[in-house]
């Protein structure tokens, strides 16, 4: 019973990461530069360094890439009170 349940969960996690890994390879070679222009000129070492994180957080990055969105600007009490920045990229 426990073995069956845990086997399922481990299988689910493995599937999630397998999809993530395939996505991550595509993302670090193409998508990263779209979502974050600075990454367009990133070195290969950089692409390798972010690969595991891309495999883990792929739903977030996939959504951003698909919608053509850029990285958001952080929210702090001061930024909220100041309103939108001018000339924001």
């Amino acid at each position: 019973m426990l073995v069956t349940l845990v086997s399922w969960l481990v299988g689910l996690a493995a599937a999630y990461l397998a999809v993530g890994l395939v996505f991550a390879v595509a993302f670090v070679t193409r998508g990263a530069g779209r979502v974050d222009p600075v990454a367009a000129h990133g070195t290969w070492g950089f692409r390798l360094a972010i690969l595991p994180g891309c495999a883990a957080l792929w739903p977030l990055l996939a959504r951003r890439w698909a919608r053509g969105e850029r990285a958001p600007v952080e929210r702090t009490p001061h930024r909220d009170a100041a309103g939108p920045a001018e000339g924001a990229p």
Binding site: L2, V3, V6, S7, V10, A32, V35, D36, V38, A39, H41, G42, T43, G45, F46, L48, A49, I50, P52, G53, A56, L57, L61, A71, P72, V73, E74, R75, T76, P77, H78, R79, A81, A82, G83, P84, A85, E86, G87, A88, P89
Partner: protein, 352 residues
């Protein structure tokens, strides 16, 4: 202030830091195995390595957890903070080595999947003393992985600093899990009580240091906002302090609009910016003006005081606040100006 991402932005200081770290880890592992073999000649290499890696990771975690509060207590510890992320990644790999060897040693040769076996080999989930301690270690490892995997500046920028910091607060979750992992493991193996005593001492140190630093910080916040500060003086401005209370190239920090504001004095002028660095939300107000730029004490990001913008080609920007001087006193308009519409600066003499 990234212009281009690299795997590691090494410079002289970071190289020195990483070399010291690598040497310390190597010496520790060698000493652990050496002393272990001397004391128990019939211990196997696997067992000693499992313990060497596990204790090295756990000890390093204590160092990592101490750096934050130590830096709040004294700027002398800031060099440790500068490259703290490399400590975290190193700790993850030490923990991974311990976990991988443990799985090989205890789970590889059964008839269930080794990862499943970590959860099921001991199924006493209802028992406090006999609670399975290995899944706790695995859960901690997952948290440590997430933090190590998102340690690059790319993640700071793409998750934004507040989200990134919230994620990295997971280090406390990992620590809690590991305290139980080690304590239960030692209890169940009926290992020397020294293990439990050491874990307890570590826990007392980490908790004590955090509480002490938080207390000191709260006291400083109360003292920092002087009696007159915050009082309205007309046109929406509030009184802050006498001009002479701010040393040159340094800031006075006050709380306004729900967050800290840094009012900098530099070469006869004053300017105020939000004290939250856009990199990792470091305390901008605790930095100094170097080469005409406010320089963050954590990793050295720079901002022009009048505009709150990083000098080109960098693109970081923080909100700014109008300041003025009346009768030798600094006054602040606590309504932040958005990035791109800078509040400017004023002369310490009172003229605009």
């Amino acid at each position: 202030m990234g212009l281009e991402y690299r795997a590691v932005g090494w410079n002289r200081q970071k190289k020195l830091y990483d070399l010291t770290l690598a040497a310390a880890v190597a010496v520790y592992l060698a000493a652990f195995v050496g002393v272990g073999l001397a004391l128990k000649p019939n211990a196997t290499a696997e067992t000693l390595l499992i313990r060497a890696f596990g204790t090295a990771a756990f000890a390093l975690l204590h160092v990592i957890l101490s750096i934050g509060p130590l830096c709040r207590l004294s700027p002398r510890f800031l060099p440790l903070l500068y490259n703290r992320r490399h400590l975290g990644v190193t700790m993850f790999f030490l923990g991974l080595a311990h976990a991988a060897l443990s799985i090989v040693q205890f789970h590889l040769f059964g008839d269930v999947n080794p990862l499943v076996s970590v959860f099921t080999s001991n199924a006493h989930y209802g028992d406090v003393a006999d609670f399975p301690f290995q899944p706790l270690g695995l859960a901690a490892l997952v948290v440590l992985f997430l933090m190590a995997a998102t340690s690059h500046d790319f993640w700071l920028h793409n998750l934004t600093a507040p989200t990134w910091k919230a994620l990295h607060m997971g280090v406390y979750v990992a620590y809690g899990l590991l305290v139980m992992h080690v304590a239960l493991g030692a209890l169940q193996a009926e290992r020397s009580p020294l293990y439990v005593v050491l874990v307890g001492a570590g826990l007392a140190w980490v908790l004590g240091l955090h509480l002490y630093a938080a207390g000191r910080e709260a006291a400083r916040d109360r003292a920092g906002v002087g009696p007159a500060a915050g009082e309205e003086v007309g046109d929406g401005f509030v009184d802050v302090c006498a001009v002479d209370e701010i040393p040159d190239a340094r800031a006075r920090v006050v709380c306004a609009a729900g967050e800290r504001v840094a009012i900098y004095r530099y070469g006869g002028r004053l300017a105020a910016v939000s004290s939250v660095c856009q990199h990792q939300n470091g305390p901008l107000g605790e930095g100094r003006v170097i080469d005409g730029c406010i320089t963050c004490p954590w990793h050295g990001y720079q901002y022009v005081p009048e505009t709150g913008e990083s000098p080109p080609p960098f693109t970081e920007r923080v909100p700014t606040f109008p300041v003025r001087v009346r009768d030798g006193r600094v006054q602040l308009d606590p309504r932040p100006r958005p990035a791109g519409r800078p509040a400017g600066s004023c002369s310490v003499k009172g003229a605009p």
